[in-house]
Symmetry: C2
């Protein structure tokens, strides 16, 4: 109903295809390796959470130009018929080495390396960057909320403010991976099997002449899963009315689940609401807060001792408001066995296929990474992070389930020392470049000195 | 290949559906009006560009819960069978009043008003907010670039950094509406008939041992539409090599279209490249600039007299980096003939269905708006901005073409006085509330004073 489903092969920048034709016409079709990494940290970030691999593998396995795609390209009057025929036959036949999803990684570390005939490796750039960027961006933001919430329940309320439908879907996925309890987004709940949560909107309350009647009507429909929104007119008065309804529910053998506070001074109002609930014998009714919150707000509220049991976070999570993009890049690092780089100011890249090695201290905490050439064996006490996940254009095994990624993230995040997780001015994690890779970079750079 | 196409009916927050059940079970199914508006301006904004209506109307016309949607909802063990049956039959039967897409609008002005049985009006909230938010956000950002570029060519390069695929698609649409020449995104080019543009990437250049050979290979494939990227190693040396190739192309009766500068001091490098090109008799070769540019960069470059003919803008446009969300809301304003509002701190809403009236001065420039009750006739010299576009769940006419919206935007933007378009600290536009609407707000608010 929103037009034909998107044709993923055409989700590519035009230059990928014009370069492909130039490669093809000049007979440059040998193997190439491309490396996907994030160049720099946004402010107040010292790590990233890798996400998006699964969609990238889906895309690579399914890549093909359908007839209508080729017709469109033909209409541009840019492409040779022979090349379009070649495109029609093109499948992704390469291999992919990647970190596992939910891995914590750092600037300049490759998270995906694609090795394939250069045209296949080139034309997938736009999609791979798009999906790794949005999912990694949102997973990283979600992890900051999880850190701030100190074990309190978090729910993704972002669907109405994300940049489009795909972002809402991916937000639900990666925030759940990072430890959220669930999402308000039913489509994502269905697609990924994520628990869904909901309360009520102001419109429900204001549709009734009396606030308390709106509470009673909702409680009648959901006698064991009601969260009442109490700030439509006045939070304290709304809380008193909710307590009246909570007591009625209790007398009927049910339980009011929670109150939601959505505006005003949440530290003060939550303390007030908690006291009123406890006095009324409703100490099992939880307090849920929302309203434009980010990780700094959640941290400050809990630091101040606000008795809030859970948070709904929407906009600022959903658009990663303080850092709405990652500086990710997808660079050619080797062609036909020759390592390559670019020397553009502030964008000097590391040549050749690579591996990342991670050390841990005796407690299991991350203790420094090394970026090395792919063939290096690395420090004996370090673990390689990139593994082959696709070969000959096919996955080597099934994807981990979202539940498994969620478990993995708990372990990953626990192993990242606290100083790198600070919400403000986190300490930089130590990432070294192996001496062999440094030598290679110098050698390749020298070849281009005029 | 990326799973089943999204089920749009489930693209909704769970609470929309739980409220719907509570409305249904309590027999509250009368007509309601909801108003969609933006509450406040982000920093350095004093207007918005309305976009997204077409997708909203598509969605409303096609809204239906399919069997698998109902099965999913049933699995949540929250919903009554009778209600699920009702949902299965539900279609949107209401009416929509809206501003035309590409209209310049201001804070608190309704851009869409939906009047429908309350359940139908309620459950469409998430989708309508999502699409109006992302499209309006990006259209507004694009208009700032158009303003800064003073007629220079602008191309959307954002697809790799937008938040997902849907955002990339919508970015191409609304930036073209706002005056961009086109997009690099082939999928959007195909879907919307937008011109596509491309140059070459560093990977093409670095795949060759010699930069000049990469230029020759590309030029051989595209003898009349080549833009050479000259900063892979050193911009000035790259420019000299591009000039050599440009002269070869000229001798063969072709024309090098442009050079692309992607890093470094673009003001200085563009002046240097222009001088070198002109000296070499290639004064018809254009200069195209890119590399993390936003409207402030474009403005500063042109202010400094940089001889740049066109700009490719990606990331900071694609995520509206300085203002990545709008403070948009969808509020119940009337139920069963009774005007309603909410009084939450800093979120007090305007009750009842509304109309916006716009005055123009003698030159045709916008000269102040009035938000009024829907039934008011408004000032005699003012034009009403909201028109009925859907009735009984059906569009009243075909959508304007994207070309037509593009033309409309030129007229709209020309009529917005310069002081409101300033990139920094723009002057606020005058929006009054009619005295009748003010009276109504006071009356309704008084009914809720305890």
């Amino acid at each position: 109903m929103a037009g034909a489903p998107p044709t993923l092969a055409l989700f590519t920048d035009l230059y990928e295809l014009t370069m492909a034709q130039a490669f093809w016409q000049s007979g440059r079709t040998g193997p190439a390796t491309f490396s996907l990494f994030v160049r720099t940290y946004p402010e107040n970030r010292a790590y990233f959470v890798f996400a998006g691999l699964q969609e990238c593998l889906d895309y690579l396995e399914g890549l093909r130009f359908e007839r209508q795609d080729l017709e469109y390209l033909r209409s541009l009057a840019l492409f040779d018929e022979g090349f379009l025929e070649y495109l029609g036959e093109l499948r992704f036949t390469g291999s992919v080495r990647a970190m596992a999803e939910a891995t914590v990684f750092f600037a300049n570390e490759p998270v995906i390396e694609v090795t394939a005939p250069i045209i296949e490796g080139q034309i997938v750039e736009t999609y791979l960057l798009n999906q790794v960027n949005v999912q990694t961006l949102l997973a990283t933001k979600a992890s900051r909320l999880v850190h701030a919430a100190r074990g309190r329940t978090l729910v993704d309320f972002g669907a109405r403010r994300t940049h489009g439908l795909d972002a809402a879907d991916k937000l639900a996925r990666v925030s759940y991976m990072a430890g959220f309890a669930g999402t308000s987004n039913c489509a994502a709940g269905q697609r990924y099997g994520i628990p869904t949560f909901g309360t009520m909107a102001h419109s429900f309350v204001t549709s009734f002449v009396d606030e308390i009647e709106s509470f009673r009507a909702y409680a009648a429909s959901f006698p064991d899963s009601t969260t009442l929104l109490v700030d439509s007119y006045d939070t304290v008065e709304g809380t008193k009315r909710a307590i009246e309804v909570g007591q009625e529910m209790k007398r009927q053998g049910h339980r009011l689940r929670a109150l939601r506070l959505d505006s005003g001074d949440l530290a003060e109002l939550s303390a007030r609401a908690r006291a009123l609930l406890d006095e009324a014998g409703l100490d099992d009714v939880e307090l849920f807060a929302s309203g434009g919150l980010d990780e700094h707000d959640v941290d400050a509220l809990l630091e101040a001792g606000a008795p809030i049991d859970g948070f709904g976070v929407g906009t600022k999570l959903g658009v990663s408001a303080d850092a709405p993009w990652t500086d990710c890049a997808y660079k050619l690092v080797e062609f036909e066995g020759r390592p390559v780089l670019k020397l553009s100011p502030e964008k000097v890249s590391l040549p050749g296929p690579k591996q990342c090695f991670r050390r841990r201290d005796r407690s299991g905490a991350f203790d420094g990474d090394v970026i090395a050439c792919a063939h290096e064996t690395g420090p004996s006490d370090a673990e390689p992070l990139l593994h082959t996940v696709m070969d000959g254009g096919r996955r080597l095994g099934p994807d981990p389930t979202l539940q498994k990624l969620r478990t993995r993230f708990v372990e990953e995040f626990a192993a990242l020392p606290e100083r790198h997780k600070a919400l403000v001015n986190p300490a930089l994690y130590d990432v070294a470049i192996s001496s062999e890779l440094q030598r290679l970079q110098r050698t390749v750079a020298r070849q281009h000195d005029s």
